[in-house]
Subunit: 315 residues, 2 copies
């Protein structure tokens, strides 16, 4: 497979597991990651280097990361809320750091107990790690902006505040930007508008989109982001990843359906949906109490439609 | 309420019930329709004037239609597969006829046992009814095109075939056009392209969109259709209306989520989502074995967001 036209990144093992109380054994996490990789997903956000006392699910972060790095194929990425987490991640061998802060001051305080300014200072500390060891020099750092389209505490978030945060991240050394609709508030025109400006400001640096389907608009928002030039999307196996503020509501957009949308739009993702069933099966077996979403694996591909990825593989 | 910016049409009582084996009592159907109307939905496709031996659910078509015509508010529309059905509909007092044929020859033969040419001849017979009685002179007729974006029997459908059918309908006297993604095959770019041309050809006559969410792209397709200038959408209570060719897959797009998308895009629908809960509750109680979909009534509106329809009502 040549380069995909669009990056789909699996976040089931990070965002998907964030609220899951049942501890998923390390080996099961790795089996899931291997199945995701075997289906052709080019990038996996594998874990969260957060202290175990904050989220017990990620107590095995270093082991999961080390195991995942030996899987052939995908780029392995992990999340860190601070310098300490990022350092542990680098020591485990991961070379792609996602750092996250919330544009909404209220949400950032609730989430990481820092003001936005304090979080940017922490981001500077993370960036400074690149100077500490020669093998860390080329570490890629993604600046992620949670609550970019609204916040359950504050309500509306000003798009200009988001763009100011994008500027700050880039000025401080971020290699990539991610805008997240953390709570599923965004509608397509808002996506279109904010990503259009962000892509322009990023000036060639990758811009990722992270959407939740809490209010049913996840894939409509993907289409709007595509129109704005975005070519990298987070999604999770079966949409795993509920929101604590919306009981019974769905979480991340569903990887399987995202892949169908992109391939139907003529974009190669590199993902074989049929092979992806194995990943879904592992996750469903490991988490019998969680709800898994998605339509395409139930309904099947349209008659006469060959996804570009499979067409290329058949050549 | 002034004119809505966009028409949402409830089709739960027609498309939603089409495959439901349990006969829903006439009075329950009317209670459902009254609740839909009370929530502000401006148009209801109320039943199908098809022979009871074809679909027993619609044996009470004339009674349902007559009952619905006394509900204050919504425009009442019904479907007819042929001249006989249309005549019965007009005799019951309905003045808005939806006639349907499939662009796919194979699907049309399977569905109504006619070639596409024969169906257009039947459409001429329906149009001719307007001349038969003075009170039928101003009957509005919508030409609906099933399988406009693909067919489970034929596979791909040529967009040029769709546009030729649009031309034929208009030449024969259709007042409105509807393109249906009957089996949930369409992706947003295809929607955008075909509706763009259809809106141009229709030259000011209303163009409706009818989408199924079988493969998860229903609301993404709505957004693409909005961009192409479409301002009228079918949807059903809780997405009722499965597809016989995709067991377990969802059916129509969900009215509640459609309304949220449109209002979040700044378009008044006239619908009060909170009041719509009563309609959903009636349908769920009447059909305990059917699956109802939708996210917005579970997750609630975003904090700080007032739908344009409610903002206007509060003025």
């Amino acid at each position: 497979m040549k380069q995909p036209d669009v990056i789909v990144r699996e976040v089931g093992l990070r965002d998907g597991l964030q609220l899951v109380k049942t501890f998923v054994p390390t080996e099961t996490k790795l089996a899931w990651a291997r199945a995701v990789a075997a289906a052709g997903v080019p990038e996996i956000e594998i874990t969260n280097f957060v202290p175990p006392k904050v989220i017990a699910q990620f107590a095995d972060a270093a082991d999961v990361a080390r195991g995942a790095l030996s899987i052939p194929g995908p780029k392995i990425v992990a999340l860190a809320p601070n310098r300490k987490g990022a350092e542990n991640m680098l020591l485990a061998g991961v070379r792609n750091v996602n750092f996250v802060l919330s544009v909404s001051e209220e949400h950032n305080l609730a989430n990481v107990r820092k003001t936005v300014d304090q979080s940017f200072a922490e981001f500077e500390n993370v960036v400074a790690l690149r100077a500490e060891r020669p093998e860390w020099k080329n570490v890629r750092i993604q600046g992620c902006l949670a609550t970019s389209f609204g916040c359950t505490i504050r309500g509306k978030v000003d798009p200009n505040d988001v763009l100011r945060c994008v500027d700050r991240y880039l000025a401080l050394g971020a290699d990539e930007i991610l805008l997240a609709d953390t709570v599923g508030y965004a509608a397509p025109s808002e996506i279109s508008n904010l990503f259009h400006h962000t892509v322009a400001i990023a000036a060639g640096k990758p811009v990722y989109a992270h959407f939740h389907d809490t209010r049913g608009l996840g894939l409509a928002n993907v289409y709007a982001a595509l129109e704005a030039g975005v070519r990298a999307f987070d999604a999770s196996t079966g949409g795993l990843g509920g929101c604590p503020f919306a009981p019974g509501a769905s979480g991340n957009i569903v990887m399987e359906d995202l892949v169908f949308l992109l391939e139907k739009e003529g974009l190669k993702t590199g993902v074989d949906l049929d092979k992806y069933r194995a990943a879904r099966s592992i996750a469903e077996t490991a988490l019998p109490d969680e709800k898994f979403y998605g339509t395409i694996l139930k309904a099947g591909l349209p008659k006469g439609f060959t996804p570009p990825t499979l067409a290329e593989a058949a050549e």
